[in-house]
């Protein structure tokens, strides 16, 4: 063999060794990237990556773009449908793949969103274990942060849910609670509009309290307190009661006014006429009283 050839061969062989090492390092990096489930692509997304990296025919880009656009629009529509049906708006979902091996995948998820007027942030670990045809999903390390003005209502429920990792129960309860709050707000607003001279909402329409007062009966206020309790097990129970604030002078003027009995009377009205009926009758009689 000639010398120059030998030199060239040696140089090329060295270059090949270098390139092979670089390619292997890049392949390892790519494998790491692909462990992240968020970036494991199929179908249209796979075509898109291929066209971005210069693989595939040149004219393909437009077709890939329009197909992907169509798919994204379908997904946006789907998300709107799910949001409407589930009554929960999700703003963000971050998924970090902690472990991805053959049969077991573990992800750390952080969801943030809102249910009516309540903002929440939920973090948990999701493990999926494949056992032949079946796969079992488990949630662990649940952490719930609820942005609520009324944290006391939720504190025992939230700690119980975090302990039992019952993500589904948390959202079912949140939704039910939010529905009851919406009912209350709608009812309060309805009465305020119908009887503006008597009804006021000192804490706003999302508050627990509706006040009934009359200009000619200064100092005498009837409060309707509509609280919504959440039990440790996630049971949502509305409680409506009537509270009276009547100054002593008025009591002396109207000795037959059954002050103590007002609350009980209201409860029986509730049973007979239902929430709205009972409230309406109180308001009407209050109006007429003077």
């Amino acid at each position: 063999m000639s010398e120059e050839n030998m030199e060239e061969v040696q140089m090329l062989e060295a270059q090949i060794e270098r390139l092979q090492a670089e390619v292997e390092a890049l392949q390892r990096q790519q494998q790491d990237n692909q462990k992240d489930i968020t970036f494991q692509f199929r179908g249209q997304m796979q075509d898109a990556i291929a066209s971005l990296c210069g693989r595939g025919p040149v004219g393909e880009k437009e077709r890939v773009m329009s197909s992907l656009k169509e798919e994204v629009e379908e997904m946006e529509e789907d998300l709107r449908r799910q949001t409407q049906m589930n009554g929960i708006t999700l703003n963000g979902c971050n998924a970090k793949t902690l472990r991805s091996s053959g049969s077991k995948v573990v992800q750390q998820l952080c969801l943030s969103g809102r249910c009516s007027e309540l903002d929440f942030q939920v973090e948990f670990k999701l493990s999926e274990v494949k056992d032949g045809q079946k796969s079992q999903r488990t949630i662990s390390d649940l952490n719930v942060v609820l942005d609520s003005n009324d944290l006391q209502t939720f504190s025992s429920f939230v700690s119980s849910v975090e302990e039992s990792c019952d993500l589904l129960l948390f959202f079912r309860t949140l939704r039910t609670f939010s529905d009851r709050c919406d009912d209350r707000s709608r009812t309060f607003q309805h009465f305020q509009q119908k009887y503006p001279s008597v009804v006021s909402l000192p804490g706003g329409c999302r508050s627990e309290v509706m006040a009934l007062s009359h200009a000619e009966l200064s100092g005498c206020v009837l409060f309707v307190r509509w609280s919504i309790d959440v039990s440790r097990e996630g049971g949502v129970s509305p409680n409506i009661e009537l509270l009276t604030k009547i100054p002593d002078q008025a009591l002396m003027l109207f000795p037959c006014w059954p002050v103590g009995g007002a609350a009980e009377a209201f409860q029986s009205l509730l049973r007979i006429l239902g929430v709205e009926g009972a409230m309406e009758s109180i308001i009407v009689s209050f109006q007429q009283e003077v």
Binding site: N33, T38, L168
Partner: protein, 341 residues
């Protein structure tokens, strides 16, 4: 010499044909004579050659030229092999370079996608409007891809939190919903339900077990006008049932010493037999789950030969324990306290 050769060859023929000692000996003699003669002749030839070479020193130039040509001819045969090796290596280098470029492009795209996704997440969290910049086709495609990953994650999240995974069927004339169940962090069975929307809102096919009163729940919750209230109530019942069923499964797995005397498909009644170490008697425990939308019993009742036992402080505590905590957890606590075996 020729005569000898002939004799030698005939001797071989003889040996080949007949195997006897005489012939073999004759063959051997002939063979050794032949070799000796060859040696003698080659020696004589060498002497002749060197004399010839010295005499023909002028012929040396021609000879060396001839031998050079011979070497060149031989090397021309091996050189194409060297050249093809170089070509092969060059081709390999090119292939590796292409592969490297490809991988670098993919990794860079991946990084860009990650960055875009992060900024999209931040924009959504801060509820800013997504900026629409005028830019290249490539970055438009990248942005679209980032949105795709975000949507996929959000849809998956809706599914994970127990969403109804609603899909349209029959060209919009109906919908299909999935009701997921879970207990203590473990996802259990999923039930599917088809609801016809046209001409009237009515329940279609489903795989919900018959002991869950789907139709009456639909009526009570006014499915026609408020589908979500109906689905929420149904989901609550299904999850409570799944929870009770799971408790029974865990009880059987974790507490083999406790005998399950009676249970039903709805898991609304459970009768257990406890062995009490101290009293050496058995306690029959009945758990009634009359509220089918709850995982906890509404009534706990003990029966024992020793009439005093259920009224003891310890067993009153156990009664509350069984009312307030899942049965398998309660039994673990009772075992720890030594009340049951």
């Amino acid at each position: 010499m020729i005569a000898n050769c002939l004799e030698f060859s005939s001797g071989v023929a003889v040996v080949g044909g007949v195997a006897n000692d005489d012939a073999a000996a004759k063959f051997k003699n002939l063979y050794w004579m032949f070799v000796a003669q060859q040696r003698h002749y080659s020696q004589r030839n060498k002497e002749k050659d060197s004399r010839n070479m010295e005499a023909a020193s002028t012929k040396a130039g021609v000879l060396s030229h001839l031998s050079l040509l011979e070497v060149q001819a031989r090397s021309r045969r091996t050189q194409p092999q060297q050249q093809s090796r170089v070509k092969e290596l060059k081709a390999k280098v090119e292939a590796l370079k292409v592969q490297k470029q490809q991988l670098e492009a993919e990794i860079e795209t991946h990084q860009n996608l990650q960055k875009l996704r992060l900024s999209l997440d931040k924009q959504c969290a801060d509820e800013e409007d997504v900026e629409m910049e005028e830019d290249s086709e490539n970055s438009q495609l990248l942005r679209l891809m980032a949105r795709h990953t975000q949507l996929k994650d959000l849809l998956h999240a809706h599914h994970l939190i127990g969403g109804y995974d609603i899909i349209k069927t029959h060209q919009g004339k109906g919908v299909c919903v999935s009701l997921a169940t879970a207990y203590e962090g473990v996802y259990l069975d999923t039930y599917n339900l088809e609801i016809d929307l046209k001409p009237t809102v009515k329940i279609g096919r489903h795989n919900i077990p018959p002991f869950i009163p789907v139709n009456s729940l639909a009526e009570v919750n006014d499915m026609q006008t408020n589908m979500r209230a109906f689905l929420d109530a149904l989901s609550q019942h299904l999850n409570a049932f799944a929870g009770r069923k799971q408790q029974l499964k865990l009880l059987r797995e974790q507490h083999k010493s406790v005998e399950v005397m009676e249970s039903n498909v709805l898991c609304s009644i459970l009768v257990l037999m406890f062995k009490v170490p101290s009293a050496k008697t058995a306690v029959l425990c009945t758990l009634d789950y009359t509220d089918h939308s709850s995982c906890l019993p509404t009534r706990v009742h003990f029966e024992c030969e020793d009439k005093q036992l259920p009224d003891s402080d310890q067993w009153k505590k156990n009664c509350s324990l069984l009312m307030e905590t899942p049965v398998h957890t309660a039994l673990t606590a009772m075992k720890k306290m030594g009340d049951i075996v």
